[in-house]
Symmetry: C2
Subunit: 223 residues, 2 copies
């Protein structure tokens, strides 16, 4: 009985990792859609949203069911609580990938991103994906120490976002208001995607140690 | 013993309502800071963030403690789960109010919002606050039916956001890129504030009925 319960707990972690892979694939495809003005890719991300939401509901239901059936305490309880909160973050990450795909679709057949900013957007996407993949590894390995590193990885995205802004606000910006609005929002979506991934890792640290990592203070200060 | 437990459950609802009031007060003050270029008000919102985070942590800790101590099932369990998830939404609402205050502070002594758009921003703020106040009433009364109304209230904010965009993208827009970026982001912050309030109400519907309200489908479609 107890053994089966621990198997079910492990399944929660596995499902969180799977869901992280789903939202990363969505962000990757949304970025391709955005930079290549690929409306088929954009539509694919937008329609896949339902798959992510289904995974999210299954995981949330499973967590509540385990709470009711097993009355877990201590570390077991924290695994479920972390899973329950982490899926909200992962679901939002799916939503943000979808938002980026929608910007691509809205501007099609034009590309929403001027050529000179493709590199910056690509770097933002890579940085956000790297953080999410690290978060998945942290979940898999239940590695609280590594969870703490992720907050600083986040700084790279902030720096890239500042680059984006300085290009758009320079006197050489000739593209007008519309691409600036698109890019300000797109930059925000990548930043939030990474923030949620950091939050997932933070939940692992809580799950393992029962303590909120100092990361919280860092995040609150910058949020 | 059981009676005391139900008192503690009631306290969770009371704390959620209190926290909703805190984030509404923050949004109100942030809006005043933004429209009046009032840097003192902006600083006040930014520094109050710690109060909201403290309330959030106390509520989350209380919820986990009750799960461990009482091993609740059915409706009691759902109250705690809803509380645990709702505080994440409320904490984000506090973060969004802070973001708006930061835009006000960044542009001070200028006002980030051109005169002609003060009315639209004020309406967005009012609409977001009305939804959050309704969400607090829904929590207080555990009113699942009223929870369902909130998704449609959300439409008003979307319409106002479209108004904002159409002004910024019209040929008469003479303010350039910077205020357009500020307003695109500010519009997004108000929209997200309202989305999170809708989510809090949705959690009440789940708490009362054990079912996810159809609202979910509506939200997923637009997110």
């Amino acid at each position: 009985m107890r053994e089966m319960f621990h198997e079910e707990l492990d399944q929660i972690s596995v499902a969180v990792v799977e869901m992280t892979k789903l939202v990363c694939a969505a962000l990757e495809q949304a970025t391709a859609a955005l930079l290549d003005a690929d409306v088929v890719a954009a539509e694919s991300v937008i329609s896949q949203r339902a798959v992510i939401t289904a995974a999210y509901q299954a995981l949330a239901d499973k967590a509540v069911e385990l709470l009711a059936r097993q009355a877990p305490v201590a570390g077991d309880l924290r695994i479920i609580v972390a899973g329950l909160r982490g899926v909200d973050d992962l679901d939002r990450m799916g939503g943000l990938a979808r938002h980026i795909a929608k910007v691509a679709r809205m501007r099609y057949p034009q590309c929403a991103v001027p050529d000179e900013l493709h590199g910056t957007v690509r770097q933002m996407a890579s940085a956000a994906l790297a953080i999410a993949q690290k978060a998945a590894e942290v979940v898999e390995a239940r590695d609280a120490d590594r969870a703490l590193e992720l907050a600083t990885d986040d700084d790279q995205i902030d720096a890239l976002r500042r680059d984006l802004f300085s290009v758009m606000l320079s006197p050489e910006w000739t593209y007008g208001v519309e691409p600036a609005i698109d890019l300000a929002l797109v930059g925000r979506y990548y930043e939030r995607f990474a923030d949620h991934a950091v939050e997932v890792a933070r939940l692992v640290a809580y799950m393992v140690t029962g303590e909120r990592p100092p990361l919280e203070a860092a995040k609150t200060a910058s949020s």
